[in-house]
């Protein structure tokens, strides 16, 4: 019943197993250190997947230039998961049972992290993951770590800065509208926003979702305007982020603060496409040039990344995901070096109990494997003219409102006044 592929792979296995057992101790040190993962190189999230891969390859080359980890050269084994969770179990079992990789890390996003979890858990592996949304809340696995800086309670940490900014307005707002796409991330972000509304006593006057492939967003924005909220929180993916921002401009939405959880404006494509339409929008970022002096190593990394990004036709700025993909590998590298081996229990324990100096700053992990404290930067766009990408490479277009230690300025409210 099986295809040739499976059969021929199977035939090779006993041999590989034997060789694997024969090599021990000193002989092993000469072997390359193989790290395996699936990554979205096709499908809807391929843009991010490719960008992450570039960052990880830069890390690999950096490490190998220094002589590898514990004297072993680092090698990657990776497969395209096509942004489809259904491919993940066979990718990870292949990596572990056939390719015999030493370590696995995750692909990009919840969709492809979750299906790898049972496999990783059965083998008690330490699992570094890339931008999953609270995946571990259901698995409670103590060797799971996640690199996106949303904090131990991601749903709440995500929009903390936005609601802090909203409540700092004078007079305090009383009403909020929540809107987002029918997809996994927006659903989580909206859940968090509802919690914030409850805590701050904001009255929710609009709370609806829309299908991600909507063409015209202006009816949605008009319905929001009809409810006349003072705060509008949006959780969206790139195409609908563009749609919502455009519609808000076309309808002339009047509200005091708008944005929060738009995915997309972090990337050059949407920054340049929307250009001046972004003025006044408040939105999260993970890195902006305005705080560049706080991240001394990032500049040289981004220069390397940006050179390759042009060739590979992915996000030419690389502020969002690539630094964190690199940092994820740095954490792993430092843990292996410190524990002097690949003992998975020791690795997990070390990562739990230490903080790591990475390109994205000091990183420590909470009990559930998320960052110990959230560091989502809430920013506001202003002074954007034209659609040139260069203006975003320099400081000056984004005010960082929070967290406090990165703050560069104050919120300018109401939202629609920023258009003038």
């Amino acid at each position: 019943m099986l295809g040739n592929s499976v059969l021929s792979t199977l035939r090779r296995v006993p041999g590989a197993l034997f060789i694997g057992l024969a090599l021990t101790g000193a002989a092993l040190a000469q072997q390359p250190l193989k790290i395996g993962f699936g990554m979205s190189l096709t499908g809807p999230l391929a843009g991010n997947g490719k960008a992450a891969l570039i960052a990880m390859e830069i890390w690999r080359d950096d490490v190998n230039a220094k002589g590898g980890i514990l004297g072993r050269k680092v090698e990657f084994v990776y497969y395209d998961d096509q942004t489809s969770p259904a491919t993940v179990p066979s990718i990870y079992t292949k990596l572990l049972d056939v390719d015999k990789v030493d370590l696995v890390v995750s692909g990009y996003g919840t969709n492809v992290i979750a299906p790898a979890m049972p496999i990783v858990m059965q083998r008690n592996l330490t699992f570094m993951t890339l931008f999953g949304l609270n995946v571990n809340s259901k698995f409670n696995y103590d060797r799971y770590f996640q690199i996106m800086p949303a904090g131990p309670n991601p749903a709440v940490g995500w929009s903390q800065g936005f609601f802090d900014a909203a409540m700092s307005m004078n007079p305090k707002p009383k009403t909020v509208a929540l809107v987002g796409a029918d997809a996994e991330y927006p659903a989580m972000a909206l859940e968090g926003a509802r919690e914030h509304a409850k805590k701050t006593g904001l009255k929710i006057v609009y709370d609806k979702t829309y299908p991600p492939n909507t063409v015209d967003y202006s009816p949605i924005v008009r319905a929001i305007q009809a409810a006349n909220p003072e705060v509008v929180f949006v959780a969206s993916y790139p195409p609908d982020s563009a749609g919502m921002v455009r519609a808000a401009n076309e309808v002339g939405l009047k509200t005091r603060i708008f944005g929060g959880g738009l995915v997309g404006p972090q990337f050059a494509a949407l920054k340049t496409q929307l250009g001046p339409l972004l003025n006044g929008v408040v939105n999260y970022e993970f890195y902006v040039p305005d705080v560049g002096s706080r991240f001394p190593f990032l500049e040289q990394f981004l220069a390397k990344y940006q050179a390759r990004a042009v060739v590979e036709k992915v996000d030419p700025l690389g502020f969002y995901l690539p630094p964190y993909a690199y940092a994820m590998m740095q954490v792993l590298e430092q843990a292996i070096t410190a524990t002097k081996g690949l003992d998975q229990a020791k690795l997990a324990e070390y990562i739990h109990t230490n903080t790591f100096d990475t390109y994205v700053g000091k990183v420590g992990f909470a009990k559930n494997g998320e960052w110990a404290a959230p560091r989502v930067m809430m920013t506001q766009y202003h002074g954007i003219t034209g659609n040139d990408v260069e203006q975003f490479k320099k400081p000056g277009r984004l005010t960082v409102l929070s967290p406090k230690e990165y703050r560069t300025g104050d919120l300018k409210a109401p939202y629609h006044e920023n258009k003038k």
Binding site: G3, S5, V88
Partner: protein
């Protein structure tokens, strides 16, 4: 071979195969085989309607998702065991097939195809907005810690279950094909009007085969949430199920139960192989090119070649 003997042999082979392969010390085998078997069921199920009667169902993914989400619902509500999910998912998908068939099978074939597509969209929106089964956020179904029959890992169990279900699907497909029902369906495919005139109860036959086909598709989906541990609407309703369940019978041959089996094993394995070797956008391209090549150069699929070869030998 009579249907009973065929059924006994097929199920026995499946059971033996399931037992023997348990010794394979390599988990990759199980996940790859699970995926291929999933497509065997889907392709066989689709062919019961599409191949035997010529009515194209675009909504395979919807019925597959009905099966998967029935499992999720029962898991959330009662922590129901897998077996309950399988039976319930099959029944619910069959009922949905009955409804679709009853509403639209009076129409020309293309309209049925469009209706099945529309049904998939409507169901998708319902699942997205139904928070109890996770909504847009997705639902987690955690694999149980205790695994029956002393199997080492849960994937071993669902692989074996999937193998037996595939055998069951083949038995059903062959039984329909070789019965008077199958001849009636073939008459519909060749000339529906003529069949109607010569007293074939076309509507009843069509509705029955739609129901059987959809029920089996639902069955294929019931183990899926356990396989992935996490399921969300856009992956459960993925276009790839609809495409593959049409492409595989086409490549294998649509006239008999063997065709979808051959097509699914072949194309499914190629997809698995390509995924771990040619790791890039070429993957989708290969499926597309294979599809175009086969329908243009081998219109009756692989079974068509086999038949032609047999005829030549017999002459």
């Amino acid at each position: 071979m009579s249907n009973k003997i065929f059924a006994a042999v097929t199920i026995a082979v499946a059971l033996v195969l399931a037992a023997v392969t348990q010794l394979i010390p390599n988990e990759y085998f199980f996940s790859a085989a699970y995926t291929v078997l999933l497509f065997v069921i889907l392709a066989t199920a689709w062919n019961i309607l599409g191949g035997y009667t010529g009515y194209v169902n675009f909504g395979s993914a919807a019925f597959f998702a009905i099966g998967a989400y029935t499992t999720v619902f029962l898991y959330n509500a009662f922590k129901a065991p897998l077996a309950v999910g399988i039976v319930a998912g099959t029944l619910v998908a069959g009922l949905a097939g009955l409804g679709l068939g009853y509403l639209t099978l009076r129409l020309r074939g293309v309209f049925f195809a469009i209706a099945s597509l529309a049904l998939a969209v409507v169901l998708y929106i319902f699942v997205v907005n139904w928070d109890y089964v996770g909504g847009a956020r997705g639902a987690y179904v955690i694999q149980p810690r205790e695994i029956p029959f002393g199997l080492p890992r849960y994937i071993h169990l669902i692989y074996a279950v999937q193998l037996v279900m595939a055998a069951f699907a083949l038995v059903v497909a062959r039984a329909i094909e070789k019965s008077t029902l199958g001849r009636g369906l073939a008459a519909i495919r060749d000339d529906e009007l003529a069949a109607e005139c010569s007293g074939v109860p076309t509507l009843k036959l069509k509705i029955f085969s739609t129901m059987a086909s959809c029920a089996l598709m639902g069955m294929a989906g019931t183990t899926f949430p356990y396989y992935l541990s996490y399921i969300e609407p856009s992956s459960a309703f993925s276009l790839s199920y609809a495409v593959n369940s049409i492409a595989m019978p086409l490549i294998g041959g649509m006239m008999s139960w063997m065709g979808p089996l051959i097509g699914a094993v072949l194309l499914g394995s190629v997809q698995q192989l390509v995924q771990v070797t040619v790791s890039s956008a070429w993957n989708l391209l290969i499926v597309g090119v294979l599809l175009v090549l086969f329908v243009t150069l081998a219109p009756n699929g692989i079974m068509g070649w086999v038949d032609a070869w047999r005829r030549r030998k017999g002459r």
